[in-house]
């Protein structure tokens, strides 16, 4: 079957590159993987490894500098304006930001892909309606839509998560629709269809595995953008609300202390930067592995 011939070697190449030939993996990619591993570890075990609770205040220890600026080992990265441990807050902020980004990416990818399948399956009027909404979403900046919804409805964690989840659905929908339409026109889908297999089964078992690698590439493009969306909104004070914490919120709160206690915000900023940078480099590398001619594809996608 076609899918075996196309999808399998690509995935094998990826697997081989990931696990088989460490010597050929570029150093930068190794560092990115290490950083992402560290971030994932911190996010999972934040409750265990954080030396203090995330809201634990100690008013006697306010604005203590980090250890490399003459502070003590009690607070390795110093304390903030309420005497909370910056390192512990950083761990919990990483946890919150990563969870929101993961859940958001998952919602957007699943919903968008599903809509793309629906549009490609029914075609006709359903397809037209979906595409009008896709065009609309693509033509109005999502950040502004998010701000408008937050203004009109007020902020709550669930609503914020839903907004972040909405991000990027139209890209997945458009991508999936195109891929499914072309897959449907190919021999293998038609062959299975003549066997009387239910369409849902064809899509899940045969079409989806074939287009999965392209969707994975889209996820690597989407994920850093979602992190930036969440941290930007939280930075502006319109996303995650105190006493909860997120990387953007920490950096935003640290803005007021830039002159006197820069260590409150800057570590969170570095964490955001290194994470988005790592995913971008890793994504570039995976894209090259999956499809060495991706430069051509970028052009094809950009062309109307």
């Amino acid at each position: 079957m076609t899918m075996v011939a196309t999808a399998a070697p690509r995935m094998a190449r990826l697997r081989g590159a990931l696990f088989g030939r460490w010597s050929k993996t570029p150093l930068a990619v190794g560092l990115c993987l290490a950083w992402l591993g560290l971030i994932a570890f911190v996010a999972i075990f934040a409750d265990v490894i954080a030396p203090y609770g995330f809201a634990e205040q100690s008013l006697l220890d306010r604005l203590k500098p980090p250890v490399f600026l003459g502070g003590t080992w009690d607070h390795v990265l110093g304390t903030d304006g309420l005497g909370r441990d910056v390192l512990s807050r950083l761990f919990f902020a990483i946890q919150t930001s990563l969870v929101i980004a993961l859940v958001g990416t998952l919602i957007g990818a699943v919903v968008g892909t599903l809509i793309g399948f629906v549009a490609a399956h029914f075609r006709g009027l359903v397809d037209d309606i979906v595409m009008v909404f896709v065009d609309f979403q693509a033509s109005v900046p999502f950040f502004i839509v998010a701000l408008a919804i937050l203004a009109f409805f007020g902020n709550s964690f669930e609503l914020f998560l839903a907004i972040v989840g909405l991000y990027g659905w139209e890209t997945y929908a458009r991508l999936t629709r195109g891929l499914v339409l072309s897959a449907n026109a190919k021999g293998y889908a038609g062959a299975i269809r003549t066997l009387g297999v239910h369409p849902a089964r064809i899509y899940v078992r045969h079409v989806l595995p074939n287009i999965l690698s392209i969707l994975v590439v889209q996820v690597t493009l989407n994920f850093p953008e979602i992190i930036l969306l969440e941290t930007s909104l939280s930075f502006l004070g319109l996303g995650v609300q105190p006493p909860d914490t997120s990387l953007g919120l920490t950096l935003g709160a640290g803005r007021n202390y830039l002159a006197t206690a820069w260590w409150i915000g800057i570590p969170a900023g570095c964490a955001i930067f290194l994470t988005t940078l790592s995913i971008s480099i890793l994504g570039d590398w995976i894209r090259d592995l999956l499809d060495p001619s991706h430069a051509t594809e970028e052009n094809a996608a950009a062309h109307p």
């Binding site: 009008v132 065009d135 109005v140 900046p141 950040f143 570039d284 950009a302």
Partner: protein, 313 residues
């Protein structure tokens, strides 16, 4: 370019604009009584009643929608509850500042991004290419609010060369423009590089080389115009992200533009102002997309021919 193609594009623009208007209407009505939300809590009931009448909230939804569309057309979009002035007026006086910032940033990102992309494409797979592309990855990965804060720490707090916030002189513009330009110059450079590589491999480039066309003329006269087509499209798509980014950058630098006004209005839930800004942005985006569509029909006559046949969707 033919009339049918332009007409299709205009119809699509109208549809998008109508959806944007409907979106604002639906979200505003869904979220509860707009009068209660737009007026301060201590407003006397008779004033609330008058506002309800003015906004036509005592009528049926379709009637309200028509009335709403009429008020959009006449520009009568309610009042900012912060200073009681007309919302459109509050927004419009911020527009010049944002346009200044955006046009300077656009010049910077194209002025840096396009040459960098061409440079990398011409030196493909050498260390020059890798260093340039490495810089673009850094440029688009750094969150613009973080870059802004780092610049403020360096140039305002340590070196004391530039003011950290406000507007009024060219010094105030330097850091916002650099922050804005850096973020998107990386994207521009990457797309310039990939579309240049695409074009450089085409047979007509070899023909030009064989005819003895000079290197400069080959790159600028033959390759760049062809590479510009996907670049224009990508810029059109990116404009949306840029407008989102502008709100953050203006807020970081306390720059009095539309973006910082939007953030403040959202935080204080000054809904009339938010509504005007969202409509203004939707309108701008529709115009930009139209310009992009028309721009590449001018750059590439094949696009118009394709669309006229109904081949592209």
């Amino acid at each position: 370019m033919n009339a049918g193609f332009v007409l299709t594009k205009l119809l699509r623009c109208a549809a998008t604009l109508f959806l944007a208007l409907t979106f604002v209407f639906v979200v505003l009505r869904l979220s509860g009584d707009p009068v209660e939300r737009m007026l301060p809590d201590d407003t006397p009931p008779e004033v609330q009643e008058r506002y309800r009448e003015m906004w036509g909230l005592d009528r049926s939804l379709p009637e309200q929608f028509v009335g709403y569309l009429r008020s959009v057309v006449t520009g009568d979009l309610g009042f900012s509850f912060r200073d009681g002035r007309e919302a459109t007026e509050v927004v419009m006086e911020r527009v010049p500042a944002t346009l200044t910032l955006a046009s300077l940033a656009l010049a910077l990102m194209l002025g840096v991004g396009i040459p960098a992309g061409i440079f990398a494409a011409l030196n493909k797979d050498t260390w020059l290419d890798r260093v340039t592309m490495g810089a673009t990855v850094l440029g688009y990965s750094v969150p613009n609010f973080f870059l802004g804060i780092l610049l403020i720490m360096l140039f305002s707090m340590t070196l004391r060369w530039l003011p950290s916030s406000g507007s009024g002189s060219w010094q105030h513009l330097v850091m916002p423009v650099v922050t804005y330009g850096t973020a998107y110059a990386g994207t521009v450079a990457r797309f310039t590089r990939s579309s240049m590589l695409e074009v450089l491999g085409q047979p007509f480039m070899r023909t030009a080389w064989a005819k003895g066309v000079r290197w400069r003329a080959r790159v600028l006269g033959h390759a760049l115009p062809n590479a510009a087509i996907p670049l224009v499209t990508v810029m059109g798509i990116r404009i949306g992200a840029m407008i989102g980014g502008a709100t953050v950058i203006e807020t970081v630098f306390g720059y009095p533009g539309v973006g910082s006004l939007l953030v403040n209005s959202v935080a204080q839930r000054d809904l009339a102002v938010v509504q005007v800004i969202v409509l203004l942005i939707a309108f701008t985006m529709v115009i930009v997309n139209l310009c992009v569509d028309l721009a590449y029909t001018l750059l590439d006559p094949r696009v118009a021919a394709l669309e006229a046949r109904g081949g592209a969707k």
